[in-house]
Amino acid sequence: MATAAGLATRSAADTAPLVPVEVKNLHKRFGDLHVLKGISLTANKGDVVALIGGSGSGKSTFLRCINMLEHPTSGSIAIDGEEIRLRKDSSGDLAPVDRRQVRRIRTRLAMVFQSFNLWQHLTLIQNVTEVPVHVLKVPREEARERAEALLHRVGLYEKRDAYPAFLSGGQQQRAAIARALAIQPDVLLFDEPTSALDPELVGEVLAVIRDLAEDGRTMILVTHEMKFAREVASHVVFLHSGQIEEQGPPEAIFGSPNSERLQRFIQSIH
């Protein structure tokens, strides 16, 4: 039944273009702390949305709500036009009605974490084939071939049988990107993918992400790399204490910021 619904939404894609990510009026509270105060954001196909903002402004929380790693307090989230069915649970937050729906939707969103979070007991190639084989039920051979191609693309083909612990941060993050691509996601979510890296390793990871952006991938990217955001993003969203303070094309945001907070933020970063 779940697959039938999935097929129905997929086939509708041929007629009207589906919106990969559509978030409406999202609120999130951690107890008394009101972290997200009504955020709406749409990412159309091929959009690269850069989320910027100070520490604690709620960027990670917002990203984690999109794939339900965090349960929002209110609001709605739709992926590829399919709204995640939610209902209030005992904690006062919105919990998914149907876990299987969330799992299915999660396989269309791939997340790249600040601290890579590769599975340390698996080699790189195993990390990349893990989800295709054990969640998406792709035949092992096919998954392996695809994984090898992806590791090749991120420049880690030679390291495919190495364990993550023996790689540099930059290599681990590139492997994490290959793992994300392996599920052939509709949307890539990046949470500060270069913040945990030594400065000399940032470039290699950004190069891979830039490559993906040029491929026309839909991405939502939390970053502190303003120069990169300016070059790669199609849309920039500035978050301040849980609200969208300002948004627009990168030229406008970085070239002529309206709000004083954004001006100060941009200056503080440079």
Binding site: N67, L69, R99, R103, R104, I105, R106, T107, L109, A110, M111, F113, S115, F116, N117, L118, W119, Q120, H121, T123, E130, V131, H134, V135, D161, A162, Y163, P164, A165, F166, R179, I183
Partner: protein, 276 residues
Amino acid sequence: MSDALPEEIAAPHLPSASTTRSEFLKPHRIVLALIGVGLIVAAAMTLRWDWLPKYGDLILAGLWMTVLLLVVTSILGFLIAVPVGLAQVTGPRIFAWPAATFCTIIRGTPLLLQIWLLYYGLGSLFPFIPEIRQSFLWPYLRQAWPYGVLALTLSYAGYEGEVMRGAFAGVPKGEIEAARAFGMGRFTLLRRIWLPRAFQRVLPTLVGETVLQLKSTPLVATITISELYAVFARVRQDTYIVYEPLLLLALMYLVLTAILVYLFRLLENRLTPKSR
């Protein structure tokens, strides 16, 4: 003498898999090995071993029983320890609390007491329950070994349940979260990520725990199970020879321990990530 024994006997059995032959044959090791051989020869020449042929078969049977008890109870115990550990880490309180209580009770009471409670307690209760007397299990429940197996299994489960709790909790949150973020269901996540990760972390501890389990097996001799120790107790009773049987018994436990440690090391080498 008994202090010196473990060194020479255990050491030659425990090369780490990476040791090469030349590293292995270091001068001090050769000297120790020679001393060991000397001691064994001296023991063989000067002490009384004439009882040995007569009890050979019994000793082998006892050895087999001990190995069987160790393997069966460790595996069963571990299978119980996994949910016991997991329940304490993520379970709802109705599971977490009994699991924690179970660990506390098992770890907080002497194993000997547990064995006796099961054997004399349960074992003497069962004959009064007609359903059990008539069931197909009764022929087994009349014997001692089910109680010994149960007690040793629960003991291992209690200690390892606590160890697994720590191991599960110690797996980095980010790795679990990544699995969830990629749409893994709970069971797949446990089977593919959480459990293997926890097991890998726990393996070094598990060696020691299993050696302790081996050395707990003689306790079931008190409920008439003829494992290794029970056989030697009988030899001593029959022959009035005290020292030699005990010496041989100690040697056999040492060798068993060495084999156990070696097997675990093989496993560890297979499961631990290596650079290449």
